[in-house]
């Protein structure tokens, strides 16, 4: 596209079926403790690939 560049992002619709395993890190175990930083976590399944 000439004027619009779409970034590569995870397909959240597809993740309805592939996600939800619950093996990822809880956000307050990382560095927040006072805010909800869910999007800053990695997907455990993506990490394994």
């Amino acid at each position: 596209m000439k004027r619009i560049k779409t970034l590569d992002t995870r397909d959240l619709r597809a993740s309805v079926k592939t996600g939800g395993c619950g093996e990822c890190q809880t956000s307050c175990q990382s560095a927040s403790k006072t805010s909800c930083s869910v999007a800053n976590q990695k997907c455990e399944q993506c990490r394994d690939k």
Binding site: M1, I4, G19, G20, G22, Q29, S32
Partner: protein
């Protein structure tokens, strides 16, 4: 719903419901804005913008509208929310216990001015967790985590190194049983650093997947709040220990984590100070406290705080391009390998996936509720005795907060921190608008950085 903004010379569109991100030129930015306002006719759009752009033609507008239409069909722009009805099902799947915040010490060897933990004691008695209690906590976690292999334990306080031998024995016990129980324990340690020594470093590097080291940045800023029991600043007592610790971990799997207050609204300088000391993994959070405290951040501080997030983002881009980059936790978003929709809707897991356990073995939804009798859920001997608290948190997801319905950030913050909301409004199913403003700004900066560093 879309969110469009300009930052650091970039025109950015976030499609809230799909999570898709677009970087566009000025013409497309204006056209998308008009389409969002309900104007879809090429001639009308051309008439609106032709005076602003000298060389634009009706064909340019038509072509851009065709691209927008294609993105719509692909579900990448102006997409519908298809997740709302699935939210309760997703939250239910995400409600199995998998992480505990183990308060091994309700005591502290520092006396920090802003401590939300009431000088380490969480409004309760001083105390160290016994190994027997810690062992029960590990058993509780194992027993209540069916179907989960990865389990997390954070050694927290107060100051956990005041009870270091129990931390070590707890790790050893968990390692002893993990294979038989088909679990994989991941440990973290959050420390103020005063008691770091070679034993702490060696053991942590072997066993702790992450360590969080508390420092507020510049010496005078750190020492203004983070003091010893005798009222002296702690910077000089901890900085070399932190350097040694971080270097021994090859500058990975740790965070230097600071707190900023009204006294350092120019907190970007504090993060950059830590980067100048060659720390590579940095985090900084706004202070959590009652609004009547003199160091509390208030609504009037928001513009300067946002400006500091911009300053930080620009400096980080510059340093990355110069080959001297560092990471800031809130700007570290993996756009391709980040969380699934189930996690994004469900949130942090407070009170369901994640629990805090006190030295006495009492159970709370998270570390920020510890000491609040209303949220004492049970104890390790009797288990969860107040199921209604679990139910309350099971009912929390991004769609249970009406304030989030029209927010572009909802799939990044999952509705925000329930504890912040509770402390601000007395209700976990609300939002803390002050926190929201800063969180949205951090997401905007993170997205902009991603574009800038990948162009």
């Amino acid at each position: 719903m879309i969110h469009q903004y300009k930052n650091n010379g970039y025109n950015i569109i976030i499609d809230a419901n799909s999570g898709c991100i677009h970087s566009v030129d000025d013409v497309a930015y204006d056209i998308i804005k008009l389409v969002d306002e309900g104007i879809g006719d090429a001639q009308l759009i051309f008439n609106e913008i032709k005076d602003k752009y000298n060389d634009i033609t009706i064909d340019d507008v038509t072509e851009t509208l065709e691209d927008i239409e294609l993105l719509k069909k692909e579900g990448k722009l102006f997409s519908d929310d298809i997740f709302r009805d699935l939210a309760p099902y997703m939250k239910d799947k995400q409600s199995v216990l998998k992480a505990i915040c183990l308060h091994v010490a309700h005591d502290c060897n520092m006396n920090c001015g802003y401590c939300f933990a009431g000088k380490g004691e969480f409004n309760g008695p001083k105390g160290l967790m016994s190994f027997e209690t810690a062992k029960k906590a590990i058993d509780f976690l194992v027993e209540h985590s069916p179907g989960r292999r990865n389990l997390e334990v954070d050694f927290f306080g107060g100051e956990p190194l005041l009870n270091w031998e129990v931390c070590k024995k707890t790790v050893e016990y968990a390692r002893l049983i993990e294979k038989e129980k088909n679990k994989n324990f991941r440990f973290t340690l959050t420390t103020n650093g005063l008691l770091i020594d070679d034993d702490v470093i060696e053991f942590s590097n072997k066993e702790m997947g992450n360590v969080v080291l508390s420092l507020d940045g510049r010496p005078e800023i750190n020492d203004n709040m983070r003091k010893t029991k005798n009222g002296k600043g702690t910077y000089d007592l901890i900085i070399d220990k932190f350097k040694k610790f971080a270097d021994s971990r090859n500058q990975k799997d740790y965070y230097m984590r600071g707190t900023y207050t009204k006294y350092n609204r120019d907190f970007a300088k504090d993060i950059i100070h830590m980067a100048d000391l060659d720390f590579k993994e940095l985090s900084m959070e706004p202070v959590v406290c009652s609004t009547d405290m003199p160091y509390a951040l208030t609504e009037e501080d928001i513009p300067v705080l946002k400006e500091n997030y911009d300053i930080l983002a620009r400096e980080m881009i510059k340093r990355y391009k110069d080959g001297n980059g560092f990471n800031f936790y809130h700007y570290t978003i993996d756009f391709t390998g980040g969380p699934c929709i189930s996690k994004r809707i469900s949130g942090c897991g407070v009170g369901t996936e994640y629990l805090a356990i006190t030295p006495e073995g009492d159970i709370y939804p998270c570390h920020q509720f510890v000491g609040d009798d209303k949220y004492k859920m049970g104890n390790l001997d009797d288990g969860i005795t107040k199921g209604e608290i679990v139910s309350e948190f099971k009912g929390c997801n991004v769609y249970s907060r009406k304030e989030c319905d029209d927010c572009f950030a909802k799939l990044y913050c999952s509705g925000g921190c329930s504890a912040n909301a509770y402390h601000m409004n007395g209700d976990v199913k609300t939002v803390c608008e002050f926190s929201c403003e800063l969180h949205k700004k951090r997401i905007e900066c993170a997205v902009m950085m991603n574009i800038a560093l990948n162009e």
